[in-house]
């Protein structure tokens, strides 16, 4: 430090009128010295720096206990006042609970597609407008780094005028989302200004910026507040013909978007099964019902317990032709949110049985979309 700079400090500390000027910037280019170094060689406290506010309270203090900024202390760990970190201050790599089902597009229990209407990858829905076409299929070639699958979306613009979306709906039957939400999508496309993402605020979509169309994955984010009602959508919006790959979507509360981190597979599957599940189909007779009839025309059956309670009374589908002995094809009866039952009518006296026929047919699907 040079003499005139020391004089500046003295003038500043003593309050000399007209001389409270800042120190001149200094370039220190060696690997040891700093532009300003203050050292207290006291081995116990090392009280090196104390700057106070006008009221005498701490503005900056540096000593053996760390650096104290009045209400925040850095001493190896960070101690901040409770409630001082809002969600908007969190970095995107701070893992948070994803409000979506199957945000990673790893689960395709309706099959791998291609799908051109309605539900595709579990809760993800195709919503086309006008004469637009949108085909969605599971893809194991173009997925994001660290992912196993993505959704390959092939969009053809017709008369939809930007109204076609690929979305997930969070129903007011289950959610109260009158709050601020943030979503992040990983999107890849080679067509500029064709794909954007956003969320529904109760009366309109709030869209983010378009993907630049450079053929690489980009993280597209958007934040919005649900101001009308309590439901919301998150969506990919298609406005120009293109092929786009969608992966790793994360919806969180608050104004700070978060990167996608996969939930434990068991948790993810359980959440998906709340809306769509199969029973049977894993092998012949993995669903088996039997009884005895003293004559023809008698009903025998049993109960199907769901793997997860459904949000509303579901549609239950008996898929394909089941194996039967001494009875007709089984029918579904008595559907509730936790279970349903099936029965078959005997054709004659004797044992009655009906059972699933394997993976190609002979199972049950249970689906409820609130």
């Amino acid at each position: 430090m040079q003499a005139h700079q020391v004089q500046q400090i003295i003038d500043a500390l003593s309050g000399t009128p007209g001389l409270g000027v800042p120190l001149s910037p200094t370039q220190v280019s060696d690997s040891v010295n700093y532009a300003l170094s203050v050292e207290n060689i006291d081995p116990t406290n090392s009280r090196a720096l104390n700057v106070t506010k006008a009221d005498g309270t701490t503005l900056i203090r540096a000593d053996v206990n760390g650096v104290n900024l009045g209400n925040t202390t850095f001493n190896g760990t960070v101690a901040m006042p409770g409630g001082s970190i809002s969600s908007g201050m969190l970095g995107p790599d701070v893992a948070r609970q994803n409000l979506l089902v199957n945000g990673g597009f790893e689960t395709w229990r309706r099959g791998n597609g291609p799908f051109t209407t309605s539900y595709s990858a579990d809760r993800w829905v195709i919503g086309t407008a006008g004469t637009d076409t949108l085909s969605v299929a599971a893809d194991t070639t173009h997925q994001d780094a660290g992912s196993n699958r993505c959704a390959a979306c092939t969009f053809g613009l017709g008369s939809g005028a930007g109204g076609t979306s690929f979305y997930q709906y969070l129903s007011s039957a289950e959610w109260n989302l009158a709050t601020t939400l943030s979503v992040s999508f990983r999107v890849r496309t080679s067509t500029a200004n064709a794909v954007r993402i956003g969320g529904y605020n109760g009366s309109a979509y709030v869209w983010g910026a378009y993907h630049p169309g450079d053929g690489a994955y980009h993280t597209l984010t958007q934040t919005w507040t649900v101001t009308t009602g309590t439901a919301s959508y998150v969506a990919v919006n298609f406005v120009a013909s293109c092929t786009a790959y969608i992966d790793n979507v994360c919806l969180v509360y608050g104004s700070g978007p978060a990167n996608f981190y996969a939930a434990p597979p068991a948790d993810e599957l359980a959440r998906a099964q709340r809306y769509y599940q199969t029973l049977g189909g894993g092998g012949t007779a993995d669903l088996y019902f039997t009884g005895y009839a003293s004559a023809g025309g008698q009903n025998n059956g049993g109960t199907l317990f769901y793997l997860s309670q459904k949000p509303v009374v579901p549609t239950v589908t008996k898929v394909g032709t089941w194996n039967v002995a001494n009875c007709g094809q089984p029918v579904v009866y008595g559907i509730g949110q936790q279970s349903a039952s099936m029965y078959a009518t005997s054709t004659a006296v004797g044992n009655v049985a009906f059972y699933s026929a394997g993976s190609a047919a002979g199972y049950v699907t249970i689906e409820a979309n609130p």
Partner: protein, 121 residues
């Protein structure tokens, strides 16, 4: 999703889609008269459920009045069905005004899934 009516083409033909069929989606047309109420163990029809059978593979979806897998399509199916056939509970006759049948279906929906479930305009 299920076996569901994807287009209420006319009073004599409905288009049906089975979108999660084994091997991929398929569909065809059916006579609306083949859509019947679920039968109880004693054979009594239950007005809370309708069964749609796939014309391709014979799979049968039992849809609740609330809509189950696809509320809008299923609720419309119930309205069209009660309008054409009346309701087996005896409250609605086939000759009653359409609005009466629709209000009956709406009552079934509200009882089953709650008042927020109705999705028809």
């Amino acid at each position: 999703m299920s076996v569901f009516v994807s287009d209420f083409t006319s009073s004599s033909v409905w288009e049906v889609t089975h979108d999660d069929a084994p091997g991929g989606a398929h569909g065809g047309t059916i006579d609306p008269a083949t859509v019947v109420h679920l039968s109880g163990l004693d054979g009594t029809p239950d007005h809370n459920f309708l069964v749609v059978t796939c014309p391709v593979c014979g799979s049968a979806s039992t849809h609740p009045a609330g809509g189950g897998a696809q509320p809008q399509s299923v609720q419309q199916m119930f309205v069209n069905h009660v309008d054409a056939n009346g309701c087996p509970c005896g409250q609605i006759a086939a000759t009653d005004a359409s609005a009466l049948g629709e209000s009956h279906v709406r009552l079934l929906v509200n009882r089953q899934d709650g008042p927020g479930r109705w999705q028809l305009a």
